[in-house]
Amino acid sequence: MELTSFKLTNVFIVILIVLLTSCKEDKINFNAQVRPILNKNCISCHGGVKQSGGFGLVFRENALAETINGKIGVVPGYPEKSEMISRIAHKDPEMIMPLEREPLSKEDIKTLTKWIEQGAEWQEHWAYLKPNEPEVPEIELDWGNNQIDAFVYQKMKSNNLSPNEEANPYDLVRRVYLDLIGLPPTTEQIEAFINNTSDTRYETLVDALLDSPKYGEHWASMWLDLARYADSKGYEADRGRQIWRYRDWVIKALNEDMPFDQFTIEQLAGDLLPNPTKDQLIATAFHRNTLNNGEGGTDNEEYRISAVIDRVNTTWEIWQSTTMGCVQCHSHPYDPITQDEFYKSFAFFNNTSDWDVPTEHPVYREFDSITQIELDGINKWISNISSETEANKWTNFIHIQEPKIRPEDFNETKNTIHHNRSGQDYMLVYNESYVKLKDVGLDNIDRIYINYNQGEKIKGNLLVKADSLNGSVIGELKLNATRGFENVPIKISTTSKRADLFFHFKSTDKDYQCSIDGFLLGEKLPTNKNEEYANVYTKIDQLLNASYRYTTPVMVEKQKGFSRVTQMFDRGNWLVKTDTVSATIPKLFNPNNDEFKNRLDLAKWLVNEENSLTGRVIANRFWSKIFGKGIVVTSEDFGTLGDKPTHPKLLDWLANRFSKEWNWSIKKLLRTIVLSDTYKQSSVISEDAKAKDPYNQWLARSPRVRLSAEQIRDQALTVSGLLSNKMYGPSVMPPQPDGVWTVVYNDDQWKTSKGEDAYRRGLYTYLRRSSPYPSFISFDASERETCLSRRINTNTPLQALITLNDPVYFDAAINLAQQVKSIEGNKKAKVDLAYKKVMGKKITKEKSKILSNLLVETEAYYTNNKEEAFELVNSENLELASLTVVVNALMNMDEFLVKN
């Protein structure tokens, strides 16, 4: 034992000497040299929250302040007076920092000393600094197609690496197909490329792929992981949710190459845009992908808050790769974000009218065609007498029927019961009950819709009174029986511009009871002179109760005057509320204290040219999908605990192009990436490169990345010719084993889709959160419970069992075997063709031999076991059965499951 420690000490000293002699007298760079030392050794005790001894190193002012023992940790210019320096170099084991850990190296101590000597200047973490326009390095060799290559080559060179040769065209075409549209090329598509002799054949192919409608389907998967899109609500019963219109919106937006700033604004705040279109409202379903708890006995407000917290965390993770989640309970331990700033972000999202109820209101209703014609008529009528804007406002009102004033908003009630658990959100009223709404603006209101549900045998009366329970009656309604909840108008006549409204319920029946869902304020139609006026109102009243085909949950702000107040939660506990806060973004990002009103302001700020972080974060996300990992590997965290960029200048160059020059065009970003020579490199790994760069950080070769869950299935269906081209619409249920869906309190069944719907692309597969499609989950797809920035690829035997035995892969194998069987030729020819169909290229001799052998052996076996062959392919054709076994093997080759 003693011998070992002696040796260690020697090694340590040698290293020290090497390090010390290599030290230069340059100015110390805080981010590059000091921050890593602090983060590694100090920050867990001397951070933003935990400041042991009163000393913290997240903010400069804390580091320079007096500590508990009266000493000052960092005295700029005077290392000898700085307690930090004296403690990290202390001789006494009781005093030396970091406590109970390996002392700092002499080199680190020297760096810190010199840094203080030079004035202990602070620097913002790299991600929060504005990017300079990086200078594109010169490359001194005949390699490189665009600026990406220049930046990449510079790093290769400094790591003694050189670019790999270009991939063979067969592998390259397959790769670029899989990367841009998620599907492999057909043999014909590859041949067409090979036979094209034009110099620009590759560019032409790339442009064609970017124009393909399949492009949007492929890239939607990535965005839907971030948006935690699913077809069910989550939690116990995990009932179905109709929200596929949102998925279709994402596909369309990507196919149209909607600029990313607009893409952002419409999803976060489409409802707050002036005169929003249907698509802009559907886009807001983005944040309605949060879970909804339908379990008996759960508190609606608790789970509404849970959804809002998720919206905050998701927004900050997607656009800023900033981990807001931690700050919910306490200030950020490492990054300069404080606890109140979480709740200031929370306030942006705390004012939508959704409330964890099964109806998922607010929803955008889509009517059947007859109802839609009625609605179009009204739209036209209003448009004629007023404007299209006014007409659109009414159309949206009829589709959404919000903002509704609901029981949670009632300012005062008497003799009522609020059912606010899981399945319910309504107010039970009885004879002599009342509900008060405070200070309601009545300027442009001539009717209030009450949404209520009342049984047949009983009748009630509703009086609407202004200012007090004994005030003047400004509206009256006989409450007749309804069929479920219905919207019924109460005509209001008053000259007051504002009033407290009292809804007073009366009945002669002592057992009277009525359920109230809420009130909608009905604005005046733009004119009341038109002779059709009354008729139009009648039609609107009917439309407000019309049945509908589809609904999509959307975002709607609460009625003015009924906004929620945002209070901080003590240690994240929603039942213990403390200070009131209003919406704004953290000071770190808002040094000028600009004012923020609502979600729209937040969305616009996220994609403002001045916000350089967004360009970096988003460019990095797309880069990481192509190369298997980001320039910043932790694409979810650009904070001080995340990884640093491997190619910081390249990241800034891409971010600047993306957010400025290319006007947020995702297609231009991807085009530039796949046109680079970096991308086109072969993925063959030389021993030298493997030794120098085992994890391929420096990109001196193309990475070999395993295909995603969706790609693996889509690819098998494509090469066998089974894949359906159908786009959009409700999610489908391809075959899955019986008994996968066994969820309590829910009779939903997996109804296997018929016809081409059984062979749609993976992203159309119904995703039930508690029971996702088994093969996707095994291949690391997201359960879509929370925002997921990157899937972590794993390798388990269960994956092999899927591609070996899942009937989908057997359907594909049989289908391809049929095609191969029908050609003229011997066994080898058939095997070779099967390989070519699957991989797009010619088989090597060795592989051909292995597979031909398998075919021969299998056929021999089936000749002696004919009934087994019949069982496998439901045909007496032994060749078909044997070829099926061969194709099944082909679809399990490593090269089929990865992109070369």
């Binding site: 759960t298 931690c326 070999r704 084993p737 359960e783 269960l798 052996e857």
Partner: protein, 488 residues
Amino acid sequence: MDLYNEAQKRKLEFTTRRHFLKQCTTGLGGIALSSLIGPQQLFASNNNTVFNAKNLPHFLPKAKRVIYLHMAGAPSQLELFDYKPELQKLHDLDCPKSLLEGKRFAFIQGIPKMLGPQFNFKKYGESGTYISDALPYFSTIVDDVSIVKSMHTDEFNHAPAQLLLQTGSARSGRPSMGAWVTYGLGSENDNLPGYMVLVSGGKNPSAGKNAWGSGFLPSEYQGVQCRNSGDPILYVSNPNGMSRDIRKKSLKAINDINKKQHKEFNDDETLSRISQYEMAFKMQISVPDVMDVSKEPDYIREMYGAKQGETSFANNCLLARRLVEQGVRFVQLYDWGWDMHGDSKAGSLNEGLRAKSKEIDKPMTALVKDLKQRGLLDDTLIVWGGEFGRTPMRENREGRIMPYYGRDHHTEAYTIWMAGGGIKGGFSYGETDEIGYYGIKDRVHIHDLQATILNQLGINHEKFTYNFQGRDFRLTDVHGRVIKDLLV
């Protein structure tokens, strides 16, 4: 001195005097617990990198594997373990307001009545442990188990409470206990998944598959559910017409091609692919074998009450033993149907709970005895319990009297039992008040239970973290303490 003990000694030498003094305040156990962490951290280059699972265990484990018997729906502690004669005296009286104020219940509204214990209790074993007449078999093994009567939780609905128990958080998205454990300790058998889940009672637990999900841990650590019909593990069988012979030939071809591929591209991931397919083939052989209870002698099946071809808690207990015997690290059983609100006969205490108790009594007793007779109980930890307890009040949903006797969900006090894996036998921990409403002594929170389970596996729950979304996550969040009194 063996390698392990030598490493321990070396680690201890690293600790300073100050460290010693500080750790001593938590008792000698504390030294063993936390002093061993230092050196590994000294050499950790960067705390961004994923936790190196190879550093585990942190210290010498008492248990190598866990069998968790989760009674989904939450059995009534007041009818099974926590004898409250005082509650009988209050039977049918109005519940005092003091017990209701500021409390949130799932279904109780207005003023409910108190409900006395519905079953009779007697003392059993040398330890003189009270057990109700619903568990006659179990009463014979009380001297082998520890009963914890002072459990409490934060959640009063099934799904969130099950998630809190199994994942440490009431919201979905965190890794389950079994995922954490297999992530940390791996499996002892490459031919079987390290974390397996068996479900009985006709339904999955309320929390669904999240209860055995891998959350943000890599998906290979999720629990693999053994299915009740069809393949015991999805796609483990070859399709009809593909014999094991043909499969073997085709796997050989796949791996031969992959070897050529490796020669061509020199990517070591291809080698992982080859072993992945080898393991899949081994799994195809070993899974159907281990899941076949007919391989057991009659007297063992009889001991559990297991019947071939059935899906029952009894069969699952027997399978659990077969699985841990094969080196499966974490076996999770769920038995559905314990939610006795009094809304139906099957949902009543007197009928439903008695029937459910009868279903589990014999098999869970057999599991303890069988492991013991095989010498496996010493290093296998068994935990039995629900996700919360039941109220001493009778449920009165929407203020109305329920048709049968039933109790509402209750977070403040409930009972679990543990056995084996370094847990004391014949021991009772914690006390509740006279009516079983609150724990009044040695309260044990869900996170404490989790910390204790990890501790028995040689894992310090505070040091066992995974970095996700910029934060180090733990099974026990920022809570949890090991209940040392329970340990041998």
